[in-house]
């Protein structure tokens, strides 16, 4: 009887030990990457005045889950040269600077998207999952993009890009037209400044 109890105890301990072992050992994982497929080729004529590189800490909450990450971003501010208003005033060519095109991407350097931590918050958070779904993660990333763009308008980057764009455009067009060129900017703070107030 005593021997049976001992055997049962050993079996229980063994089961618990095996269970613990497998809960800490991750199953083998394979990641297969397909070959890159060209999905779009676009042509344009855009004058790029500023290249942006930044590293942004991300702290956001969605559905009672908090994420903290660091993202490296790359972007640029450009102007469409094919849809510019041009006019002649005597010997001078007058050009109106077009609205800025702000492109913002995640960089392609190593660790450009580094997730530091996630946690569940709110009542009974200890019992809830802290794992974000891909949809939640994408929603956070959409917020990041909007906030970063907003910052570019507020910290004067867009204003600087427009001023430099106007200067570069004037230099180019004076070479092309061999005449004095005047570039006017109807929205020096940015064509979309009000949207990001």
């Amino acid at each position: 009887m005593k021997k049976n109890k001992k055997l049962i105890l050993i079996a229980v301990v063994a089961v618990i030990a095996i269970g613990l072992y497998f809960s800490f050992v991750s199953p083998k994982k394979s990641i297969d990457i397909s070959k890159g497929q060209i999905s779009k080729v676009e042509t344009m004529a855009q004058l790029c005045a500023i290249d942006i590189y930044s590293e942004v800490p991300i702290l956001d909450t969605i559905n009672n889950k908090v994420m903290f990450a660091v993202q490296k971003q790359k972007g640029s501010v450009s102007f469409d040269l094919e849809n510019m208003q041009m006019d002649s005033d005597g010997d001078t060519v007058k050009i109106v600077l077009s609205p800025e095109i702000v492109n913002l991407y995640e960089a392609t350097e190593d660790n450009s998207w580094e997730v530091i931590d996630t946690k569940a918050i709110g009542s009974m958070s200890m019992l809830k999952s802290d794992k974000l779904t891909i949809e939640e993660e994408n929603a956070i990333k959409a917020n990041i993009k909007e906030n970063s763009k907003k910052l570019l308008y507020h910290n004067g980057t867009i204003e600087r890009a427009r001023a430099e764009g106007a200067r570069n455009l004037q230099t180019l067009m004076e070479k092309v037209y061999k005449k004095p060129v005047k570039v006017t900017d109807p929205t020096p703070k940015g064509a979309h400044y009000d949207e990001y107030k």
Binding site: I31, A45, E55, Q73, L104, Y105, A107, V115, I134, E137
Partner: protein
């Protein structure tokens, strides 16, 4: 190392407060450029993650995709006055543009979920795993762009066609017939920057 330390300090400072959306930059670099961009390309990468072992019960498979982008441009700051040769009698102009340069502009922030199958007894994927998947896809993308000249070539060809068309049109509006050429780059016709 310095960056890690800075990151950890920021983490501590931010997590000590209530979690709110905060995008203040750790670092920002603005570079004044004078690039004329004539073409861009989107390249889709798809990644499949499968995690299983002899002792696991149920599948744990996820397939995600996202686009990375490249662009082709000429550096207008390298365009000199003598690169434009006008013939007033014939009303022609010969333009020699700086070489076409290709570069990687970045990648989508979001990933598209193509497929997910996580069994009831398996753990959901977390954000760190998705970041790892994206990191591997990104490394593969950069190697591919470096080793397969097709991407750069196709982009450069499209940019040259567009540049010719654009400059021919603006000179034509000014009464000139333009012939557009490109300076060769130091090593090849186009080169790539990251």
């Amino acid at each position: 190392m310095k960056f890690k330390l800075l990151t950890m300090c920021t983490l501590a400072a931010l997590l000590s407060s209530c979690a709110k959306n905060d995008n203040t930059e750790l670092y920002q670099e603005l570079k004044s450029v004078d690039k004329m961009v004539f073409a861009s390309m989107a390249i889709t990468k798809t990644a499949k993650m499968d995690s299983s072992d002899w002792y696991t019960i149920g599948k744990r498979i996820a397939v995600y995709s996202y686009d990375s982008y490249m662009r082709a441009y000429v550096d207008l700051s390298a365009l000199q006055m003598d690169d434009l040769v006008f013939d007033e009698d014939a009303k022609t102009v010969k333009v020699t543009l700086p070489p076409v340069i290709t570069e990687i502009t970045g990648r989508d922030m979001e990933m598209r979920k193509e497929y997910e199958n996580v069994g009831m007894l398996r753990a959901d994927l977390d954000s760190k795993e998705r970041a790892e998947i994206k990191e591997k896809a990104n490394a593969s993308f950069k190697t591919e762009v470096e080793e397969n000249p097709m991407f750069k070539q196709q982009l450069t060809d499209a940019a040259k066609r567009k540049a010719r068309k654009y400059f021919e049109t603006i000179f034509e509006a000014n009464g000139y017939t333009a012939s557009i050429d490109f300076k060769p780059s130091s090593n090849s016709d186009s080169h790539e920057k990251e």
